[in-house]
């Protein structure tokens, strides 16, 4: 039994009087793919943001690799080994695919970002790793294409690629297939399956096919609270979950 | 003691004038998220319009009434041709373009009315002073405070108590939802812009008898108006009032002990307030 890479303990997030998350507990085992699902408004994105550092939780702890991280700034987390993707594609639209990835790689060595006295064509600013990643994502041909000219599916894949550039030990994916065409989804599933070899993944997803296919463990949120946890099969049998998704008898 | 009392009263009087300069700006911003750097130019045009009407009709009152109408008509044109395209763009682009508008208006006024400043006489009815013991105050200033208070109350009633105001407030929060209720939000935006700009015209016309009319009065007013609304919170009606009063009082008190430093104080107060209350005193996030 492998140990927990990420533990969330009694995490609560309030917006005014509104509780987006209440006492959420979560353990993500090293090397696993962990899905977080739940109906709209369940507080998945809030939880995700607390983990990624774009919001600070109101109370509770987040322990990553034995270290408390709930107080860390967003920009500190990639360097610790937590990569994230965004639900709505959030890239640098006027820059090329290669440059996007290169920037993500360069960020791993914070001092490099302040090098202003020479150009970036030299080695060591992530160029090589970015090319490598492009190849891996199957986007070699798009290296010099600006992001805004890429298809939506390609953008989604790049979105995940960006998170990977930090060589994360934990990858946080926010609805990686959101808005993707049916044809592109298998490509994403393949990518995720490959990735499990190198890192732990926590993902929020609506595409149940994807969740059942790739996840080892699933946590179900409803109204900000954890209502069920287990393997995809266990969870799908859980009456509480069914009710949460399909509604109670009326 | 009486000196302090005077400074407070004078500060409040000034504050009301500053409120009048800022209120149109804040309404336009609050409703449409539009930063209008040409606000001061419309203020100056208001003063010129009042001057022109007065020199034709001989009546200050006609000027006071017609000036905002003229400015409103001009604003209608500018909104249709230019401003309409800018609601969705970045603040910085709105600022740069409205600065262009400001320059065109300023140079235009110089072209039309020349470089000699004009002055408008205080109407006979309002000339003179009121005296309470040692404390004297010009009637015309009291008149401005009164008119501003009336405009303020009128605006408040309009915004808070009428259907039109309700729609404006609703539109400032969720323009899409207002459209979904079958209300023409674009028209509403135009009307708000025209109204806000016309208020600048009123301010210009009202102040003309105190400080004269010149092409550069707009720039000063713009600075003050922005400080006022930033202090109070961009978009907040009552914020403009509080901001105006704060600036008025700071100016009144500073001029007592450090006259050269009034502007330093005003800008420092503003900078401090934004540092600690990023959206101004009453601004929404």
């Amino acid at each position: 039994m492998s140990s927990s890479l990420l533990s969330v303990i009694n995490l609560t997030k309030k917006y005014g009087d509104f509780y987006a998350n209440t006492d959420v507990n979560l353990n993500v085992k090293e090397g696993s793919i962990h899905g977080v699902i739940g109906p709209n408004g369940a507080g998945k994105t809030t939880l995700f943001n607390s983990l990624a550092g774009s919001t600070k939780p109101s109370s509770g702890k987040i322990i990553f690799d034995g270290q408390n991280i709930e107080h860390l700034e967003q920009y500190d987390r990639p360097i610790l080994g937590i990569g994230r993707s965004f639900q709505v594609t959030s890239l640098f639209p006027d820059l090329t695919a290669l440059e996007n990835l290169r920037l993500a790689s360069q960020a791993q060595e914070p001092a490099r970002g302040f090098v202003f006295w020479h150009g970036i064509t030299r080695k060591g600013f992530g160029q090589r790793r970015a090319l490598h990643m492009l190849h891996r994502l199957g986007l070699d041909k798009q290296a010099q294409t600006p992001i805004k000219a890429l298809s939506h599916g390609q953008q989604r894949i790049l979105e995940v690629g960006m998170a990977l550039m930090s060589e994360p030990s934990l990858l946080l994916l926010d609805e990686p297939t959101s808005g993707m065409g049916v044809d592109d989804i298998p490509q994403m599933i393949n990518l995720l399956k490959q990735l499990r070899e190198e890192c732990t993944i926590l993902l929020i997803e609506h595409n149940i096919r994807l969740v059942t296919e790739v996840c080892d463990q699933v946590t179900v949120l409803q109204a900000g609270k954890v209502i069920s946890e287990g393997t995809p099969l266990e969870v799908s049998q859980d009456e509480k979950v069914k009710t949460a998704y399909l509604g109670e008898g009326i | 003691m009486s000196l302090y009392l005077f400074q407070i009263l004078n500060g409040v009087g000034l504050g009301m004038i500053y409120f009048l300069m800022g209120v149109g700006l804040t309404i336009i911003f609050g409703m449409m998220n539009f930063v209008n750097f040409a606000h001061g130019a419309f203020y100056a045009l208001g003063a010129y319009a009042c001057y022109v009407v007065m020199s034709i009709t001989g009546s200050f009152w006609a000027g006071l009434v017609l000036a905002p109408i003229c400015i409103g008509i001009l604003a209608l044109g500018i909104e249709k041709v230019l401003v309409r395209r800018l609601y969705a763009v970045d603040h910085s682009i709105q600022i740069l373009i409205t600065i262009g508008v400001m320059m065109m208006i300023r140079e235009g006024t110089l072209l039309i009315w020349g470089t000699v400043p004009k002055s408008i006489r205080v109407p006979e009815l309002l000339a003179g002073i009121v005296a309470f013991d040692d404390f004297v105050y010009p009637v015309y200033r009291l008149f401005i405070v009164g008119v501003t208070a009336l405009i303020g109350i009128g605006l408040w009633l309009l915004l808070e108590k009428t259907r039109f105001g309700m729609v404006i407030r609703a539109g400032s929060e969720r323009p899409h939802m207002v459209a979904l209720l079958g209300i023409n939000i674009d028209k509403l935006f135009s009307m708000t812009f025209i109204g806000g700009v016309a208020l600048a015209g009123v301010a210009g016309a009202l102040i003309a008898p105190i400080r004269g009319v010149d092409a550069f009065m707009g720039v000063e007013a713009l600075g003050i108006a922005f400080v006022v609304v930033v202090i109070g919170g961009m978009g907040s009606f009552s914020g403009a009032l509080i901001g105006g009063l704060i600036v008025g009082l700071v100016q009144s008190f500073t001029s007592g002990f450090w006259p050269a430093g009034t502007n330093v104080m005003i800008y420092s107060v503003m900078a401090l307030i934004i540092m600690f209350r990023p959206n101004g005193l009453l601004g929404r996030a």
Partner: protein, 231 residues
């Protein structure tokens, strides 16, 4: 009454809806089902002119409404109860209602208070102070006052406690009884089952299944539900 034929919708470069055609007839309650991101809300928004680019044709009571401004479409009587409710937070409950009153509507504010007694209790409160359920009621009330000829309901049960959901369902039923057709987007299948006349299931911006209420429990329909809706 509402006829949507072969519409394609785009946000920037993303092609969201692919060749959708459907209709809502007088007095009918039709549901659009599908998982998140299937394109249900986008369908509603496309009809209301809130999506930047829509091709195809949409007609309402025989007149094409494609390309009209949102407010023009809305004044023809197409009323949306949005997913986020979009209550005006800075207005009071009563102001929210007054704002929506339109001449000719069969409902007046006093009818609303009869229908939603809670709103009357809270009429002086700001829209921002309401609970989720109250907000949903207010959003529905607002649509009713707006003289609707057809009602679009986007996930009315989302995030609400079961008791409240029940109340909402009752109200929808009452509205339906009054003869106003409803296009309902809903994830809660139970809600759909008790209300709807016909169902459409969407996946990736395309219709994958269409059936009447009678067929909704057929073997095929159950399969479709499992495939496209369930966990």
């Amino acid at each position: 009454m509402l006829v949507v034929s072969h519409i394609n919708s785009y946000y920037d470069k993303s092609h969201i809806l692919h060749d959708l055609s459907f209709c809502v007839k007088q007095g009918e309650l039709v549901t659009l089902l599908g998982r998140n991101g299937a394109g249900k809300s986008t369908t509603l928004h496309s009809i209301l002119g809130l999506v930047p680019r829509v091709d195809g044709d949409i007609s309402f009571n025989g007149n094409s409404i494609l390309g009209l401004h949102t407010h023009e479409i809305a004044s023809k009587g197409i009323c949306l109860i949005p997913e986020q409710r979009d209550i005006f937070q800075i207005l009071t409950v009563e102001e929210n209602l007054q704002l929506s009153v339109k001449k000719g509507s069969p409902w007046e504010i006093k009818d609303i208070y009869r229908l939603f007694p809670r709103l009357e209790e809270r009429k002086k409160n700001g829209g921002g102070q309401l609970s989720g359920g109250e907000q949903q009621m207010l959003a529905m009330a607002r649509a009713l006052l707006n003289n609707p000829k057809i009602l679009f309901c986007d996930e009315p049960s989302e995030g609400l406690a079961p008791v409240i959901v029940k109340e909402i369902v009752d109200i929808l039923r009452e509205i339906k009884k009054s003869g106003i057709p409803i296009l309902l987007v809903e994830q809660n299948l139970r809600v759909c089952e008790v209300l709807a006349d016909r169902h459409y299931i969407l996946e990736q911006g395309q219709f994958v299944y269409e059936c009447s209420q009678a067929d909704f429990f057929s073997e095929e329909a159950e399969k479709m539900k499992t495939k496209y809706l369930e966990v």
